[in-house]
Amino acid sequence: MLNEGLSARSPKPKAKMNRLYPLLLLVAAAMFAYAPFMILAAPYESTMGLIQKIFYFHAPVAMTMFVSAFVCGIASAIFLFGGRLGADRVAMAAAELTSILGLIVLVTGPMWARKAWGVWWQWDARLTSTLVLWLIFQAYLLLRRFGGPGSDRLAAGVALFGMANVPFVYWSVNVWRTVHPTTTVVPSLQPGMRGPFWYCFLAFVLLYVSVLGVRTRLEKRRAELEALYLAVEE
């Protein structure tokens, strides 16, 4: 523990990366400040009207969430089979972010659905797999929080299984309920809508990367502090 804490002092290139995160955050913040103007300028969707504007935040957050889930799964695999502690910290940060992004998706989605479909919730493949993925990451965080010592390895196993589970959930719900009205939205977007959509996606990805970096660094500092406490007690 002590050795890990001492040897984990940031080497030079890492320090440079760390200085990059505030910059990324600033860029993301500036992009978010400008995003409403781009969304306002985008053409009106003919049937849904104003409510369709929520799409510019809803879909990019959902895409970022799936990216985040895969980051967590892959980092967990690296931790489990390679034994790299850094990967575990990335996995934990990614899991927390997946949970927050998932919450945003699950709040904005029903708001849109209420106006567009007339119901808050539909048991279609995309909605259900998002909900299940979110539940798996809640379980992951619960395990890490209440599982006691050694739960990091167990949580890594859960993340790996959770990632492998996504295609199965998607397929099974798709066969169970094939009533999705919008199957392929993103490729069929109107030209005027495409710009703001990808702009928002980029903004969310930038925000995601910077928060992930900061959160991972925080977790590392916490581990170092714990190692130092242990060293003092000894």
Binding site: L80, V132, A139, F146, G147, F161, F168, S172, V175
Partner: protein, 226 residues
């Protein structure tokens, strides 16, 4: 050959302990039967069960009693640290996992032997009209559920609040098994039997089993190493 031998030894050990106490079998069986009864009060109106109730009740009963059996099976290993002893013995970890899985599967099969006819009887469901497909669904569904469950229950032996964490982790991951089991069974129970649909769900379950048993064999060693 050594692999099969180890699997058999671990399974035989579990079955022997169970045969002497019969604790898990009796409690799980009683729990499954009470589950079916409780659902019967919720889903039977004026003497007739609602639409697809039988298929859903059957699989929920299997999932709930499976969770109970898994928790008890590994609680037994924890009490006198016998799981640690097993882990210290010079045997293949995957063989240990498969051995435990077989033990759980045999236990669940015994429970299903009672619960399936019971559901058929109470909900007037023709569960044995297509025995091959039905047994296939039950077998693959149980294997899928137990494959994930055995791994999670084994790794939770070391964790705190393991009793509540097992269902919390297990149910979201086994949702595809539940959907496939319920929809496949429902396809066999409806007025016009939809055999191609049941077969599609069966193949989905086989695919799920292959992927998750492989993953479990692969992750069992790193997860269980302290």
């Amino acid at each position: 050959m050594r692999f099969v031998e180890t699997v058999w030894l671990v399974t035989r050990k579990d079955l022997l302990i169970e045969a002497r106490s019969k604790e898990i079998l009796y409690t799980t069986l009683f729990f499954a039967v009470s589950c079916v009864l409780v659902f019967a009060f919720g889903f039977v109106r004026e003497g007739r069960p609602l639409g697809d109730a039988a298929a859903g009740i059957l699989w929920i009963a299997i999932a709930f009693s499976g969770t109970l059996a898994l928790g008890r099976a590994f609680e037994r290993e924890r009490q006198s640290e016998t799981l640690r002893a097993l882990m210290m013995s010079p045997i293949d970890r995957p063989a240990l996992y498969v051995g435990k899985l077989c033990g759980v599967l045999i236990l669940l099969a015994a429970v299903e032997l009672i619960v399936v006819p019971l559901v058929g009887l109470m909900f007037q469901a023709p569960l044995f009209a297509h025995p091959v497909l039905m047994i296939g669904l039950l077998l693959t569904g149980t294997v899928g559920f137990a494959a994930v469950g055995t791994l999670f229950a084994a790794m939770l032996v070391r964790a705190r609040s393991r009793d509540v964490l097992l269902p919390v982790l297990l149910y979201p991951i086994t949702i595809p098994v539940i959907i496939a089991g319920v929809r496949g069974t429902a396809a066999l129970l409806q007025a016009e039997v939809d055999e191609p649909m049941a077969r599609a769900w069966l193949s989905m379950l086989v695919f799920f089993d292959v992927v998750f048993v492989t993953l479990a064999l692969w992750t069992f060693e790193p997860v269980m190493t302290e």
